[in-house]
């Protein structure tokens, strides 16, 4: 299925998509960054391209346009797709040096993500594999039971079933927790005030500056709850930040 999609995408890109890409690159080299950005963003919205290279180019174009926040956002997006993308790491480092505070990204482990996800050592996929392994073991033990029905084997069979049930419950639980896991976001405005509650009338607790990376662990309407490096938390307008995972959407 993925291969089919890839072939379709390649064939479409070989025509219009590739042309748009080339035109955007040309615009970039001519210094027309806005046109370059529009071209790259078209590839995302119209052709559904989600490539590290494209996000990387967008990061470059936004940086040349002077929008550090957007540049950081797209470099982070490129790195989220391909963590070994050295060029994106290097350019991100350069851009971060130009931000006001060049803050490090907050550590996800410092954020209390709920006791379940915090202490449970397996990912949902690992839990699922353990469930399948337990069911497979139960199947094997069932045949062994049929051949040699010793009480020990029967207990092992029952234990495998209990094991599978427990891990399936843990799979569902950890999957639920992963759904609500905090998301990396980047401040895309010059200054973004962060409030104690969702009320702009109160004085801000602290300010985020363009390019600052935060974690968003809750979204309520137009507001997002952010967690900044150093443990500061509060609410800010959602449009002050761009969530890396939703880049280009």
């Amino acid at each position: 299925m993925n291969m089919v999609l890839l072939v379709i995408m390649l064939s479409s890109l070989s025509g219009d998509g590739a042309d748009i890409f080339d035109q955007a690159n040309e615009a970039y080299y001519q210094g027309d960054n806005i046109r370059a950005i529009a071209g790259y963003e078209r590839l995302i919205s119209e052709f559904g391209v989600k490539s590290p290279a494209l996000f990387y180019n967008l990061g470059n174009a936004w940086f040349k346009e002077g929008r550090l926040g957007k540049a950081v956002l797209y470099y982070e997006a490129a790195l989220a797709l391909d963590p070994r993308f050295d060029a994106a790491s290097k350019n991100l480092e350069t851009v971060l040096k130009n931000t006001k505070r060049h803050l490090p990204a907050p550590d996800r482990n410092e954020l209390n993500r709920g006791a379940f996800l915090h202490y449970y050592p397996f990912t949902p996929m690992q839990s699922l594999l353990l469930t399948h392994a337990a069911l497979a073991a139960a199947l094997v033990l069932l045949f062994v039971c049929y051949r040699r029905g010793t009480p020990r084997v029967k207990w092992l069979y029952r234990f495998s079933l209990v094991f599978a049930a427990v891990f399936f419950a843990l799979t569902v639980g950890s999957n639920l927790a992963a759904r609500n896991a905090p998301k990396l976001a980047v401040t895309v405005r010059d200054e973004a005030p962060v409030y104690f509650s969702m009320n702009e009338l109160e004085s801000p607790r602290f300010l985020l500056y363009e390019g600052d990376r935060v974690l968003i662990d809750r979204i309520e309407g137009d507001w997002a709850r952010v967690y900044a490096y150093g443990g500061e938390r509060g609410w800010t307008r959602k449009d002050n930040t761009g969530i890396v995972e939703y880049s280009g959407i």
């Binding site: 070989s14 590739a18 490539s51 069911l135 199947l139 039971c145």
Partner: protein
């Protein structure tokens, strides 16, 4: 008058006595201690200006003195219009004695108001034996408090070369008997290691026999690298702890103890004259070189990884000497250091990006790494052989010089850029790498996927149960195969020599199998009775009995039934067997 003289004399004597009394006092917390037991030397002094006591004489008397705790009180007095400041200071020195005997704490000088006063000498008796809990009969050796808990410092070698790794083991032994428990400092102090670089440290707990007794041992391992030649000393590992144990009457006992090791002397020899390519690595090393491919493309970088493994200071392992390669560009190395857990083994990787500039058959010359080997007492050079490679010319004859160096195609096409920023990627093929966000979430399909093996499991279980019953339960087996057997016999009956007889036997057999009785020799009336007893539908019973009777009649009539009669009988029999089977199954369920 005489009375006044006595008063004046008494006042004068008191004044003189007060003047003569020393402003310095000393005492010890206990006059009788055991070896290494901590006791306290308390020194008090009063005056306007009180200096620190000089404890050097105490140390010379063989008494180990620790850092004191200090209390001070200042009061201001005004006597006859003159204001003076009075200090009252008290020092408490923790002290211990390493050998038994009677020790005299010498006079300790303290300077008060510019005049030196001496304290009184004090004697302390140091005993060795400690009353212990009940001992097993075979353990006749007398236990001392030092046997309950003690410390040792062990070094892997004491004659080394500069930079050579030494493993220092600080071992804290606690007797694994008699409920011995030691209260240790929250953070272990570490001995003075001036002149050494500190390497990796790890801690482990082991149980071991020492001097015929079992001990629980906490072992702190520290890698040390002598930084300079000469005589270096690893200081004493010294700390205070509280030992708890139970005496012969099972009463809990405690004693504050000073745990200390002897200082360790290390003789460090200088390194012989250094060769040109020596970077500072001293120890035992080996080198691995990895080159993933031998077919290269002009302008496309290839990663050459040189890994140095061994025991030695990772900070002194410098990059190996890379040979001159005029046909290629070699990047600065990316360095990665990995220290093995609970070991002095270290792995340091140097990763170079080689970008071939000229096509054709080329050779990567040998890579060399020089280090000093203390075992051989000389410098050694690890050498990796030369590697022949074939560089293909670039397909599109472009002028790109790749710097990314990763395996992905897209990263190979980034041009070198003079500014801080790397330029955009212009190759449209890079867009084909469509990826998904790495997320821990599972799709719905994945979440419900355990249902499939679960269903397989349930089906298998019911099948196995069925097969087991077939092998173990005879009546079940008869019932299970009854219908098939009967219908097969009925279908084959018209082709047999005596169809009605076959039919009769098949039906009787079916009834016998279904009711788990012997079907042979049943008459139609017996079949009727058996079925009615089991509340089988009267119509089905009647039809079946009619078929059986027809067979009986044919058997005794002495003539062969026509094909039409036989076929009609078979059809009816098939139908009624079907219905009877369903009916009996229903009754059973």
């Amino acid at each position: 008058m005489r009375c006044y003289v006595v008063y004046i004399a008494l006042a004068a004597w008191l004044a003189l006595n007060a003047h003569a009394q020393s402003p310095v006092s000393a005492d010890v917390s206990s006059r009788r201690v055991t070896v290494n037991e901590v006791f306290t030397i308390i020194i008090g002094a009063n005056g306007s200006d009180v200096k620190e006591p000089d404890m050097s004489g105490v140390a010379e008397a063989g008494i180990v003195v620790g850092a004191p705790s200090h209390q001070s009180q200042t009061s201001i007095r005004t006597i006859q219009g003159k204001t003076t400041m009075m200090q009252s200071r008290t020092w408490r020195f923790p002290a211990s004695i390493a050998n038994e005997g009677t020790y005299t704490i010498p006079r300790i000088p303290v300077v008060v108001d510019g005049r030196e006063y001496l304290t009184q000498p004090m004697t302390v008796e140091v005993t060795r034996t400690v009353e212990m809990g009940a001992r097993p009969p075979h353990d006749t050796a007398e236990l001392t408090i030092d046997d309950l808990a003690f410390v040792r410092a062990i070094v892997s070698k004491s004659n080394v070369y500069q930079g050579e790794p030494i493993l220092l083991k600080l071992r804290f032994y606690t007797l694994d008997q008699y409920y011995v428990n030691v209260e240790t400092p929250r953070a272990w102090p570490f001995p003075e290691t001036e002149g050494f670089y500190l390497g990796v440290q790890w801690q482990q707990n082991v149980t071991e026999q020492y001097a015929g007794r079992n001990y629980r041992i906490t072992e702190i391992n520290q890698a040390l690298y002598p930084a300079m030649p000469g005589e270096l000393t690893i200081g004493a590992w010294q700390w205070q702890g509280g030992v708890r144990w139970y005496d012969a009457r099972r009463r809990p006992q405690t004693a504050a103890r000073m745990f200390a090791t002897e200082p360790v002397r290390i003789t460090v020899s200088p390194l012989p004259p250094r060769p040109a390519n020596f970077t500072g690595a001293v120890g035992l090393f080996r080198m691995n070189v990895q080159l993933p491919e031998k077919q290269w493309t002009q302008g496309t970088p290839v990663r050459l990884s040189v890994t140095i493994l061994g025991e030695g200071n990772p900070n002194t392992i410098g990059a190996p000497t890379m040979p001159e390669m005029p046909w290629a560009h070699i990047s600065d190395p990316e360095v990665e250091t990995h220290q093995q857990e609970n070991s002095m083994e270290v792995t340091k990787s140097f990763s170079y990006l080689i970008t071939p500039l000229d096509a054709g058959e080329q050779v990567v010359p040998p890579v060399e790494f020089t280090y000093f080997s203390p075992i051989h007492k000389d410098y050694k050079t690890e050498r990796f052989r030369e590697i022949p490679v074939v560089v293909q010319p670039a397909a599109d004859n472009n002028t790109f010089v790749a710097i990314g160096g990763s395996a992905e195609e897209q990263r190979r096409r980034i041009a070198v850029f003079d500014g801080d920023m790397l330029p955009i990627i212009t190759d449209a093929q890079a867009l084909a790498v469509n990826m998904q966000w790495k997320t821990a979430r599972l799709s719905t399909f994945a979440l419900v996927s355990p249902l499939m093996p679960l269903m397989l499991l349930l089906v298998t279980q019911s099948l196995l149960k069925h097969w087991r019953r077939l092998t173990q339960d005879r009546s079940y087996k008869r019932r299970y195969y009854a219908k098939t057997k009967c219908l097969t016999a009925i279908s084959e009956a018209p082709r047999g020599q005596d169809p009605t007889e076959t039919l009769y036997r098949a039906i009787n057999g079916f009834v016998g199998d279904m009711l788990d009785i012997n079907g042979a020799g049943l008459t139609s009336s017996e079949v009727e009775t058996l079925l009615l007893e089991r509340n089988v539908d009267a119509e089905i019973t009647a039809v079946l009995v009619r078929v059986l009777k027809a067979c009986e009649r044919a058997r005794y009539a002495g003539r062969t039934s026509t094909d039409e009669e036989v076929n009609a009988l078979c059809d009816t029999a098939s139908d009624i067997v079907d219905r009877l089977h369903a009916c009996l199954q229903e009754k059973r369920s």
